[in-house]
């Protein structure tokens, strides 16, 4: 219960720049994760078109039978979304924390090229720590 299955980060143009899998069965290969990310980017945009009211900023939460998908879009347009078990609490705050980690360890890294795949060790380490402490806090394991 209450586990995070995977995390994706998409750049402004819809390309996948980071994918972390924390224990799904049948882990996706690179091509599939790229396709899924682009598909999500498009769906996010189309959902804005179908809004009955002005000012829609895209899908925040998608609820399926076996998982929930929480999405956070930053001001420049980078999307962070996490696939987790249904009804997992505090995913929004986790996503905002991951965004903070992204600004600290990725954007402030002088060797990181914007919009390119993320290859920053410190980001990976801190991310694993955050996910792990989140899991411990929620589950005690």
């Amino acid at each position: 219960m209450a586990a995070i299955y995977s995390l994706y980060i998409i750049n402004k143009s819809g390309g996948l720049i980071f994918y972390k899998d924390c224990g799904t069965k049948g882990r996706m290969d690179t091509n599939d994760s790229l396709r899924v990310a682009s598909l999500w980017h498009s769906m996010h945009a189309i959902s804005q078109q179908l809004s009955p009211v002005n000012g829609c900023s895209g899908i925040d939460l998608l609820q399926a039978d076996t998982f929930d998908l929480h999405c956070f879009q930053s001001l420049p347009g980078t999307k962070f979304f996490v696939v987790c078990e249904p009804e997992t609490p505090h995913m929004e705050s986790l996503l905002r924390y991951i965004y903070e980690l992204y600004t600290d360890y990725v954007l402030k890294n002088p060797f990181y090229e914007i919009e390119m795949p993320i290859r920053c060790e410190l980001f990976d380490i801190n991310l694993s720590q955050a996910v792990q402490s989140d899991r411990v806090a929620l589950l005690g394991r």
Binding site: I46, S51, G55, A64, F67
Partner: protein, 169 residues
């Protein structure tokens, strides 16, 4: 606001001011993508003309279902992205929420898709959608004059639906 743009979809009955009314609009599609019913209670913004709007909605749902089937973390064997799935095959989503609306979705084994777009703070509408499907069976399917696959023009169905949707909090 009503649509009369040469489409065959029955116009919804005149809507009084939307007080105590949570729902924005509703779509019913069959398995071939034909829009059997489109009802609008409160929709200030129309981005596209009706035909394009229906196609976009159907396309969005088709792609989202494909996406959720692929992203399913439980099933090890998933089809390829974009391969049409049978109704009920693969993990399917039941709702998504944005900051301005919440869309609840239900697909029956016969491929009838019921979509209800409501206020974002609405709760889980799965039971309501099942009830609406029950109404559809009673008033539409059991109507001997109705041809399956054609737009729904049943007054009794429209009235019952209106009444029910207004009562959903």
């Amino acid at each position: 606001m009503q649509f009369f743009g040469g489409s065959e979809i029955s116009p919804s009955p005149p809507v009084p001011t939307a007080s105590g009314n949570n729902a924005h609009m509703m779509y019913v599609f069959n398995r071939n993508g034909v829009c059997l019913l489109y009802k609008e209670w409160n929709r200030p913004l129309h981005t596209l003309n009706p035909q394009q709007d229906h196609k976009l909605m159907f396309g969005l749902l088709f792609s989202l279902k494909s996406l959720t089937a692929k992203m399913d973390p439980i099933n090890a064997d998933k089809g390829n992205l974009g391969v049409p799935q049978l109704p009920g095959q693969g993990c399917s989503f039941h709702s998504f929420r944005t900051n301005t609306y919440k869309l609840s979705f239900m697909e029956t084994p016969s491929g009838i898709k019921i979509i209800l777009v409501t206020h974002p703070k609405t709760g889980d509408l799965r039971e309501s959608l099942k009830y609406i499907y029950g109404l559809y069976v009673e008033y539409v399917v059991k109507n001997p004059i109705y041809t399956p696959g054609s737009p729904i023009k049943s007054e009794m169905f429209n009235t019952a639906l209106d009444q029910y949707v207004r009562s959903i909090s």
